[in-house]
C-alpha cells in the first residue's frame, strides 16, 4: 500500500484526536492566570511527530487549529495563531530531536527540548505582538510574561510530557506487534 495515503489518514486521525482532547480537558495551571488553560491537545501532535517525523507534528497542530477555527471560531484569531505556534514549535523540535535519538530516553529528551522551544517561541511572540493584540498595556507586559506566561508554558511542557511519555511507551510495542513500520 502507498505509504503517503496512509500517513495522510493517520495525520487526520491524530488531528481529530487533538481536536477532541482540546475540549475534553481544560484546566488553568497557574492560579494567577485563569485565562491560560491547559489542554492535552499537544499529545497527539507529539505522538505523530515521533511516528511520522517533525513535519507531521506541525501539520497535526495546523489542522487542529484550523478545525477549531472553522467549527467554533470563538476566541478570535489571536488565540488561534498563538495556539498553532505553541503546538507546532513543541512538536517540531521534539520530532527533530527524536529523529536523531529514536529511543525511550530520546523521546523524553526530545519532549523537554520541544517544550523549551515552545516556551521560547511563546515568550517571543507574546513580547512582540500577541499581548499588544490582546490589548495588554505596555508597562504590564513584562510582569505578565515573567509571572504568568513563562511558568504556564513550563507547566504545559511538564504535564504534556508526563501524559505523552507513558502513552508512547504503551502504544509503540503494540504497533510493533501489529507489524506496523513508520519511516517518515
Amino acid at each position: 500500500m502507498n505509504k503517503s495515503t496512509r500517513n495522510l489518514v493517520i495525520i487526520s486521525m491524530l488531528a481529530g484526536m487533538s481536536y477532541i482532547l482540546m475540549f475534553a480537558l481544560q484546566i488553568p495551571l497557574i492560579p494567577a492566570a485563569p485565562f491560560l488553560k491547559y489542554d492535552p491537545s499537544d499529545v497527539p501532535a507529539l505522538i505523530g511527530a515521533f511516528l511520522l517525523g517533525p513535519v507531521a507534528g506541525v501539520v497535526i497542530s495546523f489542522i487542529k487549529v484550523a478545525l477549531f477555527f472553522i467549527t467554533k471560531g470563538t476566541g478570535g484569531p489571536v488565540g488561534s495563531i498563538q495556539n498553532f505556534l505553541a503546538s507546532a514549535s513543541f512538536a517540531l523540535v521534539a520530532g527533530l530531536v527524536y529523529k536523531k535519538m529514536p529511543t525511550k530516553i530520546g523521546a523524553l529528551v526530545s519532549m523537554v527540548a520541544g517544550g523549551l522551544a515552545m516556551t521560547a517561541v511563546m515568550h517571543i511572540s507574546n513580547a512582540t505582538w500577541a499581548l499588544a493584540a490582546w490589548g495588554v498595556p505596555e508597562d504590564g507586559r513584562t510582569a505578565m510574561l515573567l509571572t504568568m506566561i513563562l511558568p504556564f508554558n513550563l507547566a504545559r511542557m511538564t504535564v504534556s510530557t508526563i501524559l505523552t511519555f507513558p502513552l508512547y511507551l504503551g502504544v509503540m510495542p503494540i504497533l510493533k506487534r501489529l507489524g506496523w513500520s513508520f519511516n517518515g
Partner: protein
C-alpha cells in the same frame, strides 16, 4: 460521559439568508480583511462605531440570534476584563476621575481600556459570524482555495483540506469510541474523575492507549479504501460541489470596500 457530550461539532446555524448564501471564499477573505482593517486603522470610537455598526447589520441580515453571537465572547471574558482593569489603573492621562485609596483612575485610562476591549470584541465577532453562517465543509473548501497560491512554495493545499475533511468526519466516531472504551474501563473499576492533576493524567492512560490503537487501525482501513478507489492526491481531482461566485458576492465586496474605506477615511483624513 459528561465531558464528551460538551463537544459539539461546530456552531453552524443553517439558514437561507443573504449572508448564508455568500460564497464561503468571500466570507473567509472578508473576515480576514475585517481583522486587517481592525489592526491597521488607528482606533477611535468613530472607527469602531462604523465597523461595529457594519457587524451588527451583518448579524441582523443573517438572522442570527444576538444571544448566540454574544455567547462566542465567553472564552475571552476574563482577558477582556483584565485588559480593561489594567488600562484603567496604569494609564495616567486625561483628567483624574477619582482616587481609591492609592489607585488613581484617569479618564484616559478608562477610555483606552474600553477602546481596546471594543477592538477585541470586534475581532472575535468577525470569526464568530463566519462560523455561524458557514458550514465547516464549505469553510474547508474555502481554506483550500486560499492556500492554493502557496502550493508553489511546497504547501500541500489539497492534502491539508483533505485531512481536515477526514478529521471532521472521524471526530464523532472517535468520540463514540472514547465513550465506549471509557465505559469498558469504568466497568473494570477505573476512576477518571478524582485526584489531583497527575493522578487524573495517569487515569487517562487506560483510555488513551486503546483509543490511539483503534484510531491507527481505522486509519489503515480508510487508507486501504481510498487506495482501492484510486485516490492519488490532488492533481486532476474534480469536485462534486464546485464553488461559484455570484452577483451577491460582488455586492458584498462592494459593501465591504465601502465600509473599510469609510473607516480608513475617518481614521487618517479626519
Amino acid at each position: 460521559m459528561s465531558m464528551m457530550q460538551q463537544i459539539t461539532l461546530g456552531q453552524y446555524l443553517p439558514g437561507n439568508s443573504v449572508v448564508h448564501r455568500l460564497d464561503p471564499r468571500t466570507k473567509l477573505l472578508m473576515a480576514f480583511g475585517f481583522i486587517m482593517v481592525l489592526f491597521v486603522i488607528t482606533g477611535g470610537w468613530m472607527e469602531y462605531g462604523i465597523l461595529g455598526l457594519a457587524a451588527l447589520i451583518v448579524i441582523y441580515t443573517a438572522k442570527l440570534p444576538l444571544g448566540m453571537v454574544l455567547r462566542g465572547l465567553r472564552p475571552i471574558l476574563i482577558i477582556l476584563s483584565l485588559t480593561i482593569v489594567l488600562h484603567i489603573f496604569s494609564t495616567h492621562t486625561g483628567t483624574l476621575l477619582f482616587r481609591l485609596w492609592f489607585l488613581e483612575v484617569y479618564s484616559g485610562g478608562v477610555n483606552q481600556g474600553f477602546l481596546l476591549a471594543a477592538r477585541l470584541v470586534l475581532l472575535v465577532l468577525s470569526t464568530s459570524v463566519l462560523t455561524l453562517t458557514t458550514s465547516p465543509i464549505a469553510l474547508t473548501d474555502a481554506i483550500e482555495f486560499v492556500l492554493k497560491p502557496f502550493k508553489r512554495i511546497g504547501l500541500p493545499a489539497h492534502e491539508l483540506a483533505m485531512m481536515m475533511t477526514i478529521a471532521l468526519r472521524f471526530i464523532p466516531t472517535l468520540i463514540e469510541e472514547a465513550e465506549r472504551i471509557m465505559k469498558a474501563q469504568l466497568a473494570r473499576g477505573a476512576d477518571f474523575e478524582s485526584g489531583g492533576l497527575i493522578k487524573r493524567a495517569k487515569s487517562l492512560l487506560p483510555l488513551l492507549v486503546p483509543l490511539f490503537i483503534s484510531a491507527f487501525r481505522r486509519a489503515d482501513e480508510l487508507a486501504m479504501a481510498m487506495e482501492a478507489r484510486c485516490y492519488r492526491g490532488g492533481d486532476g481531482r474534480t469536485k462534486f460541489k464546485v464553488l461559484r461566485y455570484t452577483k451577491l458576492d460582488f455586492y458584498a465586496w462592494t459593501c465591504f470596500v465601502a465600509v473599510s474605506a469609510l473607516a480608513f477615511y475617518v481614521s487618517y483624513a479626519l
